[in-house]
Amino acid sequence: MIENLLNMIDGQFIVSALVLAIGVHAVLGLVAYGVYLERKISAYIQDRIGPNRVGLDFGLTFLGFLKGCLALGQPLADGIKFFVKEDFAPKNVDKVLFTLAPVFAVVPALIGFVIIPWGGYWSMPLINLPLLGQIGGETVAVSGADVHVGIIYLLAVASIGVYGVTLGGWASNNKYSMLGGLRATAQMISYEIPLGLSLLATLLILGSFMPNEIIEYQVQHGWMILSMPLAGLLFYTCGLAEANRAPFDNAEAEQELVGGFHTEYSSMRFALYFLAEYAHLVTGCAFFVLLFLGGYHLPMIGITDPASTGLLAVFVKIGVFATKVVLMVCFAMVVRWTLPRMRYDQVMMLGWQAMIPAGMLILVVTSIMVYLGQTTLVPMLGANFVMLVVLLIAQHVFAKLYGRSTANRRIKLYGSRFSPMDGERVITGPTNQLAREDRPVQGSVPTI
């Protein structure tokens, strides 16, 4: 029995365990400092300074040189604050779901990292270990799991994350939370489709679900963002929507839903939601880097090729991959502080009327290109240009047919006071003249 278990432990097992153990903590650290980064970036964008007080000196004099220090101790202080705050659950909440929901949010966000191929392959030297005997002497993948279903696994896991949000909204016994949870669900359903379509188009060309093979393809044929910029754009946008990130963070829209699904959450449970949100963002960015930005590969630098499998190469690759992920996270933060949150109907309209048709077009054109065997850089760029032209013409034609939308892009709800049915008399204010002291609702038709 024990013999069998020991036989299971080979070089790949040890490396995978190490990568997982380090990776989870690295991601958690990245999440904590992601919050700090977000605050800093938003501050500079808004001409402020951001956190700059909490150094890492812990009040000790011999660490005085770390005082201030760009407030690098801020995430630590925030974490301690979350732990010592009162863990409050309101009356009449569904206690079990209320406690489980943050867990449902965090776990899928964290286990998605398993398949990210941080360091490519490592030709492991032979090592003699007590109890296990000789180990290594083979090429092992520096990732949690080097599986053939990598991309499918990541997709499946990433979309479970919305359960946490919806359950939290349901369990809170609060209308705002409920609405936030529902919005998250609807948004997830809508944006999974264009995400899947753009992903499918990319995978048609890549020809593999295996993360390492995807990167190898990109090393040989150039990064996918160059040959499929439109799919990349669509994928990144949908990734933001999947991660409930601005400008698609309708599930927690502070102005409308006072915090949405986490209105009733406090203390560590809220911190878990926070963690899940940022972990989702990091996963999404790692996914994007893997699919479109060549993973650990840098052009012209031989050590980042899949062919070099030395220990140094592994560390360089991990560094390159992590740097790309952090840069994409920074970009998502700039997006957040640039674009205002879209109104909910606009989000849905963008999803169903723009993103999904565009995704279908990309899929069809890419399929044709694959059928013709023209999947190298130049023909694909031509195809992308054609797609862009087709989309612009379609936009123009629809604008001609249905009239140009205003900046408001209001969806007409027939029968409402803004879009009355034919011959309908709209009465918006109170019918009693004495009660009409107040300002009438804008857009009303004066009757009475």
Partner: protein
Amino acid sequence: MPIKDEDIITITPAPMSTSEAVYFPSIIKGFGTTLRHFFTSFGQGHTSRTIQYPEQRREHYTPEQGGMEKSNFRGVHRLNRDGAGRVKCVACMMCPTICPANCIHIEAAESPWDDREKYPAKFEIDELRCIFCGMCEEACPVDAIELTPLYDVVGESRQEMVYDKNKLLHVYDITIDQKPM
């Protein structure tokens, strides 16, 4: 007064141009704006508007630089003293009457001095209720109550933030240099 219907202007937003309707050109323009601000204010660059509060204070700057004008700033109250060092107040009850927050409580008593009939035996201002509107200052017929440029007042309890006569006179002593009567 209801707003007349002919006074209501219904605004119809202009239709979007093509670049706005396909979003991305406008979004890239937006990135330009945010990144310009990011790089010009990076590390307290020239567009940064922050005053590092406990070290730098608004008093140190002129109003043009974003500082504060001390002569008409409405901070914590003080009770002025007259030439003989006595409280100037005559307990006329104008300030508690005008106070919209009902935060001034005065108990008048017969004055021990010859030049007035009443004086405040008790004078309390609840600085937590006060909205710092400055109406008391305007109502006062003898310029006894004034608002000072002090704004960073703290207390460890609510009771501590109810300023009595001695405390208000003390505020006068420490602010008379900053804001002469």
